[in-house]
């Protein structure tokens, strides 16, 4: 059943392409219907599949000569991320309701992207996973380049090239693992049991981890993220930060760590306390957390704050992965979900609700606009989203980051300490953005008042309210009752830990 999430999304993209041009309303409704259908399937799949071990959905021989299977399967981790994708897809369509330029093409690219993402999360054949992974790259280039804003062509190209460089690193390891294992199969399970030598894993692991990590915003390969997020149209930033970055993290978890667990073994010697690739990446993750937060603190563009905050939050995911213990990994997966929802929400507010009305994202301009009064919906929406993003208890972020921190404590308390600094700075930059964008005390000049009266900001539309409610509800539900996802994630992580990693 879950396989239909993929097919439906691609079918939706095809339908959008075939729709008559100039019928924007129709294109929107069609996109929404397809996204909703995918989301519905994802929910149903989640409800039925929760707590079950990995279940195979489709297994067909695809390329016999290379032993490649069309193998779709889902375990708890996949289910959670598929759910996230469905959520992001629906919210993305809702927040793109005001796109008038080449509407059907926009939704075609969007749905194709979503289809690719569903595919990655459901693939249990490394090759298939890679194919879907690449499928997701191209649409996002066009989404940003055509419908984006600030320096969109540059950002789109940068994003595409970074992604492609990352995926070529993945491809190299894929080829090497396939050639080395001699198992004549690219199924993740077969490759994991192929008995790849520790020496091979030792160099394959860092290569593929970085390859996927680029998309996950691994410092110092994160630079595509802020520019890409800023330039992208709202729905694309939402999906980019919400789901695409998760593709990278998911790849790190499922492929890099699942197939090459010995890559994280100690080297046998250590340099300033770094004794394995695991230490290296954990430290990079921590640097990402602190650096992202620190840089977010000094941005003058509202969207850049969110862009860098994504780098910081994704650092938690990567740190959670590198803890290699049950609680840390569970936290990492939960953080993927949480950040997916929250980043979507934040980008939606900044990009759609605010920017599309004010046409500026500079704090210096926003300060004089009294947005808390003129756009109370945006202001209070951002308050809620910001709180959630800060990791306030009651929202999904808290429990996820808590788990990561606890896990990292068991692994290495220094990491926890440094990441804690990131959280504190995180509170600071969110607060600063909130204050400057919405609740500034600056007294408006007479000229500004005049302007304000002349240009009333457009009213909030129902898709915005619906999208906002959807994402907020998701974060709240998970924050208030994390068991709903943890019950799915924990057994899957346990299997993963028992099966390969460590």
């Amino acid at each position: 059943m879950l396989a239909w999430t993929i097919y439906l999304s691609f079918a939706g993209a095809l339908v959008e392409v075939l729709l008559p041009r100039g019928r924007a309303g129709l294109a929107r409704v069609v996109a929404l219907l397809f996204a909703l259908a995918g989301f519905g399937l994802a929910i149903a799949g989640f409800a039925f599949g929760m707590g079950q071990p990995r279940t195979t959905i489709v297994d067909v021989m695809w390329v016999p000569s290379l032993g490649i299977h069309y193998l779709l399967a889902a375990d708890g981790i996949s289910l959670v991320l598929v759910l996230l994708t469905g959520l992001a897809a629906v919210a993305g369509v809702l927040f793109s309701w005001n796109i008038d330029l080449r509407t059907n093409e926009f939704f075609a690219f969007f749905l194709a992207l979503i289809g690719g993402v569903y595919g990655v999360f459901l693939s249990f054949d490394l090759f298939l996973l890679f194919v879907f992974y690449e499928v997701a790259i191209v649409p996002k280039y066009f989404l940003i380049a055509i419908w984006g804003s600030t320096r969109r062509e540059y950002a789109a190209m940068k994003l595409a090239l970074y992604s492609f460089v990352g995926s070529s690193m993945v491809l190299i390891v894929l080829l090497a693992a396939y050639a080395t294992s001699g198992s004549h199969s690219t199924s993740l399970v077969d490759l994991a049991h192929a008995g790849l030598s520790p020496q091979f894993q030792m160099w394959a692991f860092p290569l593929i981890f970085v390859g996927f990590g680029i998309l996950a915003g691994l410092w110092p390969f994160h630079t595509w993220a802020p520019t890409g997020h800023v330039a992208a149209p709202t729905a694309a930033s939402m999906v980019l930060a919400g789901v695409i970055m998760k593709l990278g993290a998911y790849g790190c978890l499922r492929v890099a760590m699942g197939l090459f667990p010995h890559g994280m073994d100690p080297w046998g010697s250590s340099l300033i306390g770094i004794g394995s690739w695991r230490d290296v990446f954990a430290i990079l993750a921590v640097i990402g957390i602190v650096y992202g937060a620190r840089v977010a603190l000094v941005q003058t563009d509202f969207k850049f704050v969110i862009g860098y905050s994504s780098v910081s939050h994704m650092g938690f995911v990567l740190l959670g992965l590198m803890t290699l213990n049950q609680i840390g990994l569970t936290g990492a997966v939960l953080q993927m979900f949480s950040h997916g929802v929250l980043a979507g929400l934040l980008f939606a507010i900044v990009g759609r609700v605010v920017y599309d009305r004010t046409h500026t994202r500079q704090f210096a301009d926003l300060e004089g606009m009294h947005l808390s009064k003129r756009l109370p919906f945006a202001a209070w929406g951002f308050v809620i989203a910001g709180m959630a993003s800060m990791g306030l208890p009651g929202f999904s972020g808290f429990i996820a980051e808590l788990q990561v921190l606890i896990g990292s404590w068991h692994a290495n308390p220094w990491w926890t300490g440094a990441a804690g600094v990131g959280i504190v700075v995180g509170v600071a930059y969110t607060w600063r953005a909130l204050q400057r964008a919405f609740f500034s005390d600056r007294i408006p000049t007479a000229h500004q008042l005049e302007l304000e009266h002349g240009h009333a900001l457009a009213a909030i539309t129902w898709p915005e309210v619906a999208g906002f409610s959807l994402l907020t509800a998701a974060s709240l539900v998970v924050g208030l009752y994390p068991k709903i996802l943890l019950d799915a994630i924990e057994p899957a992580v346990k299997t993963l830990l028992a099966g390969g990693v460590q």
């Binding site: 695809w62 390329v63 000569s65 290379l66 690449e134 790259i137 055509i146 090239l161 491809l171």
Partner: protein
Amino acid sequence: MNYAELFRATLPETVLEIAALLVLVVDLGFVRKAAMKTRAGCAALVGIAGCIAALWVLPLAGTYSAGKERLLAAGGSAGVAQAGILILTALTLFLLIDSKFSRNPGEYVAVVLMSAAGGMIISAAQDLLVIFIGLELLSLGLYILTAFAKQSGKSAEAAVKYYLFGGMSAAFLLFGFSYLYGLSGSTSLPRVVLGTYVAAGNGGSPLLYIALVMVAAGLGFKVAAVPFHLWAPDTYEGAPAPAAAFIASVSKVASFALLISISSVGIHFMESLPLTGGRMILRAFTSGTPQPPVVLGLPYGWGLILTVLSAASMLVGNLAALAQLSVRRLLAYSAIAHAGYILLGLAFFSWTNASAQAILYYILTYGLTTVGAFGVVGVVERATGTDRFDGFLGLHKRNPLLAAVLLVLFLSLAGIPPLVGFWAKFNLFAAVLGVGGGVVPFALVALAVGFSAVSLYYYLQVLKRAYVMPPIDETPIKVNAVTMAALMLIAAGVVVFGCFPALLQNWIASFDPVL
């Protein structure tokens, strides 16, 4: 000499030649007074029919030997390459229908068919002389085709350059061949290869290496490998679009098929050298049986030369393509880069037929994609008068279907799954790594994959014009229905073969070598 056998062996080529004559007869005899469009249509139609007929008789073709020495092989990779040549030739003829560069479509088609016949001969050739004759037949046709747009100075200039470089390289090749003959005392490929091993075993005669370098130079010219690539950008730019498509696809297929024959023989000899020598030659054709993995035997030799050519082509092709502003030149440099990838497959050639099949898969799909790409370029050129990037501005608005075809083809060239270009690369690189471990093949594959990432940049430059940047001119571009259908067929092929790669793989594997 058995003429019946010879006739049977060259049946497809003969069919092509007859078709070529038929085209001239029909064009000059029956429709001479008709409108240009009709004449072009008729000529193309007859030509296509000829290709189909040749394809039909292809399975009947057998091997041909003079005495003990085999001159022409049949089936196997040769068969695949020949079938590919015929299909691609037919597709390039479709592009003719809509073009207006020549007032003599009949002549054009005839030359194309004759060149294709040359390509078919080299695909199957097992003897140095046959190889050379086939190459010349092919090349002469290509020079004429390049110059076919008689009103265009560019076309003439390109043809002259192509001709001069081609002549030079033919000389090199002949020079190399004569040394090889001198070393081995035979022009038969298996014996020649054996001779090189004997020479290498005797302490490595310097003549051998001169010979290998010369041959590499000659063949490198045909596949446009760096540093023998200089003709390619100018030719691709100057030749009429259908001719350029033909050069970029058919001639490449034929040349790589030749390289495959050379490599296949060579590898097997390495294995059997310590045994009895000549008698083992026949095993060359029973490849596929499991054999111990063979690493390149020569410390420096053919494989090394190919490796160097491959690395240089990838490097120069991809980097130079970054700086291009003309789509044709872009395609030329990208062709150089693709030749680099394929040469990598030849440099690390596998004992099993995995390598041969991977290379054939690559070159056929690449040819298919390139024909489509030149088709689109031709259409855009006719509408805007230029093949520069700016001509593609706003293509998605001017003709969405054409833009979609361009999107599919260029993404396939960049190696984006699930399009066929990706599978080709994957197949090829998997075959390279499957040959044996070691750092060198791995590093080269890493280089190749890395350059694929780079290549996305320049392909996206064109797609960016077509989809992203604002159009200057919004008038719709009209495309002849037949051309459009052919282009869509190609794009559909790229997608379908990409989604179901086993289709093409099984087809290639279904060609059994004829013993």
